[in-house]
């Protein structure tokens, strides 16, 4: 089974790194879509099936908090896990993201195994999913 993923980050480089991390982590990727901010992500999500959303928090136009708030208020992708990959250090803001319905967050800088462990937990809870464990020597 493959999973459709949406990566939301204003940094094109970071989107590439996220995609590479998923691929090297043994994540079975279906369609991978990208957006550079929350508003663009909402436009992409309209009427489309997505299994997982990975999003930054600090973005111009619409940040991660505005994005997940709109996502949940508009009832778009209601059950789709949303994981924030962020430099945000403010515990109140991180709690706010979780209260708004985030499935989890990872602080940057991160290691591929951090992403793998969190996605194993989150996707496992929703789909009985388990990623490969061999990422030694991954060159990303």
């Amino acid at each position: 089974m493959s999973y459709n993923v949406l990566i939301v980050d204003d940094s094109k480089s970071m989107r590439k790194v996220m995609l590479k991390t998923l691929q090297l982590s043994g994540f079975e990727l279906g369609e991978c879509l990208e957006a550079s901010n929350g508003q663009e992500a909402l436009d992409i999500l309209d009427g489309r099936w997505i299994d997982l959303i990975l999003s930054d928090v600090h973005m111009p136009v619409m940040d991660g908090i505005g994005f997940i708030r709109s996502l949940r208020e508009q009832d778009i992708c209601r059950d789709t896990p949303v994981v924030f990959v962020t430099t945000e250090a403010n515990q109140d803001r991180l709690k706010q993201l979780m209260d708004l319905g985030a499935s989890g967050y990872i602080r940057k800088p991160f290691r591929p195994e951090d992403i793998r462990a969190l996605l194993n937990r989150i996707m496992g809870e929703t789909n009985g999913f388990r990623m490969g464990t061999d990422v030694e020597g991954c060159d990303f």
Partner: protein, 160 residues
């Protein structure tokens, strides 16, 4: 003896460069002289009373190398957009790491910026001695942190 912010910034830069950019750097003394670097990325931590500016200047060679490492490509595949975008991300992670260690909820992280600089470039942080770092003995970059007091508007602190 290193000031507290200097040691914190050194720790954060080392962690970010090692974890995401696969580069180990050594910090040293430049004797206050300005080294010729080609790029500067900057990020601000903001509260209502002022801003902390963190600037990172790096050589083009080092920037290209860490960008290639970050993206998992060869250095000759790195274009200028990739390079600037990766340096912005570097500033973003360094700013976020500094914020985390500072552990003060009052501060908010701004949006990073990056630009190419010439040999005559003078940044607003010029007055503070930079923290120079080297990669395998070669000057690779410098970092500087500066506090700028003054009112910061809400719209800068609270995005959207």
């Amino acid at each position: 003896m290193a000031l507290e912010w200097e040691q914190t910034l050194k720790d954060v830069i080392s962690e970010v460069l090692e974890t995401m950019f696969f580069a180990m750097v050594e910090f040293g003394e430049s004797g206050g002289r300005e080294l010729p670097f080609e790029y500067e990325s900057e990020i601000h931590l903001l509260n209502h009373k002022g801003r902390i500016c963190i600037s990172l200047r790096v050589s083009e060679e080092f920037a290209r190398m860490i960008t290639a490492n970050f993206l998992g490509v060869e250095e000759n595949q790195v274009d200028d957009d990739d390079l600037k975008d990766s340096l912005k991300e570097l500033a973003n992670m360094v700013g976020g790491g500094y914020h985390a260690l500072k552990n003060d909820a009052e501060w908010r992280l701004g949006i990073p910026g990056v630009w190419r600089i010439g040999p005559e470039y003078m940044s607003m942080n010029q007055c503070v001695p930079p923290l120079d770092f080297a990669f395998f003995g070669e000057p690779a970059g410098s970092a500087v942190l500066n506090y700028v007091p003054g009112r910061v508007e809400d719209r800068e602190i609270i995005p959207n």
